[in-house]
Amino acid sequence: MNKLKIPAPKYRPGDAPNFENMMVGVNQNLSKPNIDSAPLDMMDHALGLVRVLNDEGELYGEWIPDISDDELLKGLSDMVITRIYDDRMQVMQRVGKMSFYLKCTGEEAIAVAQTAALEDQDMCFASYRQQGILIARGFPLLTMMNHCLSNSQDICKGRQLPIMYTWSEGNYFTISGNLGTQFPQAVGWAMASAYKGESAVASTWIGDGTTATNDFHQGMTFASVYKAPALLNVVNNQWAISSFQGFAAGEGTTFASRGIGYGIPGIRLDGNDFLAVYAVTKWAAERARAGHGSTLIEHFTYRAAAHSTSDDPSKYRPENEQEFWPFGDPIDRLKAYVIKKGIWSEKKHEALVKEHTKTVFDAYKKAESYGTLSSGDRPEVSTIFEDIFEQPTNTLRRQRQELGI
């Protein structure tokens, strides 16, 4: 008998998902520790789940953040525009305007709320599913679209896949595409910040699947050894393309708990709860700025969309699984909260959606006028030999001449 165990997700296509018992015994009413708390004293936070909005959409517990109405409404608006942007770009990929696209549906709060809680000087080393950071920091939609279309105005000069944005001015690091590499880089960036005596912190995001890479462990070790002022985010959206988080050894444990062994506090939170993401980010950033080192934050969420335009999730998981996800949708939840709070209304929301839809549509029309991958203007071909080094080598000059440009 073959005794090798291979993990498998609970539900496959055709199954009826049921997550009712998923959180049985999980502490969802956690204390808010002092920012200098020892990691070992925060075991509950690594195994539990920090939430601020309960299932009824009411605030509860110690983590309720001090956040202004303006910030709440900006957060909601940024999440809405992120989703509309994603939907538009996905459609444009489907009609052949770009090679690839990747949505963050259901995960908007993770990027948008964390950005809201960080300072502009803080450096973001994101993965490819945090386009919400750029939107929250005001990167022009047109610039993002020009990049995705690899057109004549693409600031990456047609060198990168869509979504692999870069924006140094907005303290957003160039996206790699090789998973996890940004993790130790963010730690190094944070070490340099400490070295210079500055107050900026680094924040980095990886997925549950990427915690299996060497980079995760290298980053954790360096973050711990040098007490780097960094926020180390694991977005546990349950899926790495078609592999469920069991293939990252996530079954029966939490990703947040991995911090403890490194001497780094781990906090698991409800990633679909804008206020929980905001509150924990504030705590971790304050801890980092005060010199107490990094925090590992697990954002417990669900990847509602496909991994990318290159896969069909109905081939490996129940088609409607996200509808059964017990933590709802981040936009719906924040919207319900601000309406309940009396600072928002269905009518205003409708108008907001309409306005953003038009903004995205208009920006796209403009972007398309600068060309797309399949037609129109492209960046100058001669630029493909630039930026290998600051100065071109003789070998590169010869190759450029050979191409005849």
């Binding site: 060198r159 160039t174 730690v187 340099a192 070295y195 210079k196 060497n214 290298q218």
Partner: protein, 337 residues
């Protein structure tokens, strides 16, 4: 000028760099308090403080990944990978990240990073402390690759590497740390004392990257080489009794094609020599360039002398090492061709 061995010259380069520029930061496994397993960073922590020269976890990917992040945040990391045989866990960070961040971001971000690493055999290091992996790096777009052969160049080129705005891999043949090596393990060991290139200024100076050195002029045959094999080639040239020209590439990438072609066009005969394994070695690249640029000047087929295509065997390192006799034999074959 002061007489220095290669370790002292490298140490002196660190000292000058740390003195001159607060953004230079030095780290690596055992590189801080202890001063490195080869003493290259000895005394630096004591002199400049533990935040400017420090120890790291045994994590080459972490060292290089963190160094990239530091470089992006305005520092100039100068890191040591204890043996080049250990560099592979950091390979992804070098190849996919350091080498490409300027390109992929269209110069929105850049990585001024220098990775020093001892390489090569002849020190009874076995297969995990003897490799010469330079060709793996010369193949990568966006990296500059250096291999030095003497104290004077080591200091000047290391300073140039740190000054360079892009990532540089800096190979130090550890067999040359204490003296040049003729390739004959039975011969008495030599030191850098009284050697022309053991005379090293104490002050800050840099040498241009991408420039080869004609170590010895000659008219009969050109040897294109680098690292430890520069000295073996010089000894072989002398033993052959012929008028051999020896070129030390110093920088492998970007390559100094002009110096190579000028030499081969003059002599019409060429031998390429390196310690690294033969197949896929950098010698193949050099040979191709000569073929493309000097074919009608050649009077004989070009030959390569390199390590065999085997791991460096501990008890048989002199059978692996492309020593004096193999180089002399190859010179004679090229001359007869």
């Amino acid at each position: 000028m002061t007489q220095m061995n290669m370790i002292q010259a490298i140490n002196s380069a660190h000292e000058n760099l740390l003195e001159r520029d607060k953004s230079v930061v030095v780290f690596g496994e055992d590189a801080g308090y202890f001063g490195g397993v080869f003493n290259a960073t000895e005394g630096l922590q004591e002199k400049f403080g533990k935040q400017r020269c420090f120890d790291t976890p045994i994590s080459e990917g972490g060292i290089i990944g963190a160094a990239i992040g530091m470089a992006v945040n305005g520092l100039k990391p100068l890191v040591e990978i204890q043996f080049s045989d250990y560099i592979y866990p950091g390979f992804d960070q070098i190849v996919s990240e350091a080498a490409r961040i300027r390109y992929r971001s269209a110069a929105d971000f850049t990585v001024p990073l220098t990775i020093r690493t001892p390489c090569g055999g002849g020190i009874r290091g076995g297969q995990t402390h003897s490799q010469s992996p330079e060709a793996i790096f010369t193949h990568v777009s966006g990296l500059k690759t250096i291999m030095v052969s003497n104290p004077y160049d080591a200091k000047g080129l290391l300073i140039a590497a740190v000054e360079d705005p892009d990532p540089v891999i800096f190979f130090e043949p550890k067999r040359l740390y204490n003296g040049p090596f003729s390739g004959d393990p039975a011969a008495p060991s030599q030191s850098w004392e009284n050697h022309e290139f053991g005379d090293v200024p104490e002050k800050y100076y840099s040498l241009p990257l991408g420039k080869a050195r004609v170590v010895k002029e000659g008219a009969d045959l050109s040897i294109i080489t680098y690292g430890t094999m520069v000295h073996v080639s010089l000894a072989a040239a002398e033993k052959s009794g012929l008028d051999v020209e020896v070129i030390d590439l110093r920088t492998l990438s970007p390559i100094d094609l002009e110096t190579i072609t000028a030499s081969v066009q003059k002599t019409g005969r060429c031998l390429v020599v390196h310690e690294a394994t033969f197949t896929g070695g950098y010698g193949g690249e050099i040979l191709s360039l000569i073929q493309e640029n000097c074919f009608y000047n050649l009077e004989a087929p070009i030959r390569r002398v390199a390590g065999w295509d085997i791991p460096y065997p501990h008890a048989f390192e002199w059978e692996y090492f492309p020593g004096l006799d193999r180089v002399v034999r190859a010179i004679n074959i090229v001359m007869e061709g």
